[in-house]
């Protein structure tokens, strides 16, 4: 079984991933090209450069930090998919993890990675379908919703994250409680501007810091348990 996964499945994943990733980047430019060819709208390079530089200084660190931070969670196939489709922390990771729970497989195993890939692919299809219906119906959809429902939607993501933390944290209780405390302290420090000397730290430092602290502690305790056993 191991041979099939490493020698057949993974090379195929990489082949599909590299091809769709790089072609995807080109495809993303189609609207801009149509704008230029059909409507003759082409921004002045100098103005565009200004906008790109301010965008890059705001998000540039994230381009590298996010794929690295999320890799241990989503794996290779997940990385190819999650970054082309976006909405990673609010949808891809919850779906991948819940799919693993439903199929009763462990994260980090070969079975786990196959199931996570299935879960993510399904979530992309649902996500795009909902957006497509929404885009076609347009603003009329949201104006139909009463104010109270719109207000409640703001609380969906915090509630989802709280619930998921418990769902997965229960398997490693001590570790999770410790991590939440560290994460809260880290976020308070970031919010108070302690790390303002790092460019755009408020966007990426929280997740990146937590991933590495969490993995480091996890591995350290794993070694301890092994030694004691």
């Amino acid at each position: 079984m191991k041979d099939f996964y490493t020698e057949e499945y993974m090379p195929k994943v990489n082949k599909i991933g590299k091809f769709t990733g790089y072609v995807g980047v080109l495809v993303a430019f189609i609207p801009a090209v149509v704008l230029a060819v059909v409507f003759g709208i082409l921004p002045k390079p100098a103005a565009l450069l200004t906008a790109f530089i301010s965008g890059a200084s705001a998000f540039g660190v994230l381009w590298f930090v996010e794929p690295i931070s999320y890799f241990p969670v989503v794996g290779s196939a997940g990385t190819y998919m999650a970054f082309l489709s976006g909405n990673i922390s609010n949808m891809r990771i919850p779906c991948a993890s819940m799919a693993q729970v439903a199929a009763d497989v462990k994260p980090g195993t070969q079975e786990g990675s196959v199931i996570a890939t299935l879960g993510m692919a399904v979530s992309i299809i649902i996500n795009v379908s909902v957006l497509t219906v929404g885009a076609i119906l347009g603003t009329s959809v949201l104006s139909m919703l009463p104010e109270s429902v719109k207000g409640a939607l703001n609380y969906l993501l915090p509630a989802l994250f709280g619930a998921l933390l418990v769902q997965f944290g229960m398997k490693m209780k001590k570790h999770s409680i410790f991590m939440v405390i560290i994460a809260i302290i880290l976020y308070i420090l970031i919010g108070m501007g302690v790390f303002n000397w790092l460019p755009g730290a408020s966007n990426w430092l929280g997740t990146l810091g937590c991933v590495f602290i969490s993995i480091a502690i996890g591995l350290a305790t794993l070694k301890n348990t092994k030694v004691s056993a």
Binding site: F4, Y9, G24, V25, V27, A28, P31, A32, V34, F39, A47, L48, A51, S54, A56, A58, F71, P72, V73, Y80, F83, S85, N87, C95, A102, A103, P107, G108, V114, T117, L118, G119, V122, S123, I124, N127, V128, V130, G138, Y155, L156, P158, A159, L160, F161, G162, A163, L165, Q167, G169, M172, A183, I184, Y187, T207, C210, V211, I213, I215, L219
Partner: protein, 247 residues
């Protein structure tokens, strides 16, 4: 020509439809590969179907949140671009900031000033240019990170599971912490009433989500209630949202 007319024209719908379809094609390719691999690796059909069903249920809520975010983009940059940007490499916060940076480089404030065709072009180009960095780096590095991870763990399966489990917990801890910490540092920043109350409400929703989930999980496990395990996430989210609004 009116910029909004261009933004919502048929050619723009077609131009934005191609990237959206491309994202779906990629997802289908990976899903097909994973399904076949799963079969060969001895995963049962029912197991994989359960996984997909659970993913459908989990995606619906967040999809609606993204949709409500998209509607603000529909107003500022038109339907097709808003639709494409959130289906591909998208996140609501990033897109509106990038679009705003693009238009402000030529002196147009997005959402306040009338959108000129030139400003629309700037918004589109800036959103695209600023987003491809993620895809380029992720596509380039995925297989390399895989190798690094295997080297670090020396093929030790237990270690790989530990890394993945810790990373999952940490991602959710970080997301919760970002909501839970806000009321605390908002006090130090002397934020206004509006910001404070929304920060408190978000923290409350996160807290309630955790508590309700904990109770449901314990009950479902003790009494061996299968359907409760499957629906606990949905019940928790709905209950916390409603409670947060009421309190």
């Amino acid at each position: 020509m009116d910029a909004m007319k261009i933004a919502n024209s048929i050619p723009m719908w077609i131009a934005c439809g191609i990237p959206v379809i491309f994202v779906i094609i990629q997802a289908v390719l990976f899903a097909r590969g994973a399904f076949r691999a799963g079969k060969k690796m001895g995963l049962k059909d029912t197991q994989m179907k359960r996984a997909m069903k659970s993913s459908v249920v989990t995606s619906i809520g967040p999809s609606i949140v993204v949709l409500s975010g998209m509607l603000s983009l529909l107003v500022s940059v038109g339907g097709p671009i808003g639709w494409m940007r959130l289906s591909m490499i998208g996140s609501v916060m990033f897109e509106s900031i990038a679009a705003g940076l693009g238009t402000s480089a030529i002196g147009v404030t997005l959402g306040t000033d009338t959108l000129t065709p030139e400003a629309f072009g700037m918004a589109v180009w800036t959103m695209i240019l600023c987003s491809i960095g993620w895809v380029l780096f992720a596509t380039f590095s995925a297989n390399k990170m895989d190798k690094i991870e295997h080297k670090l763990s020396k093929g030790n399966a237990g270690m790989l599971t530990t890394i993945a489990s810790c990373a999952v917990i940490c991602v959710f801890s970080a997301m919760c912490a970002s909501h839970l910490a806000k009321p605390v540092y908002s006090v130090f920043q002397k934020a206004d009433q509006m910001t404070m109350s929304s920060a408190e409400k978000n923290a409350l929703a996160c807290f309630l989500g955790a508590i309700i989930m904990a109770v449901l999980t314990v009950v479902a496990n003790k009494k061996e209630i299968g359907w409760l395990k499957e629906w606990s996430l949905t019940i928790t989210i709905l209950a916390s949202m409603i409670l947060t609004v009421i309190i």
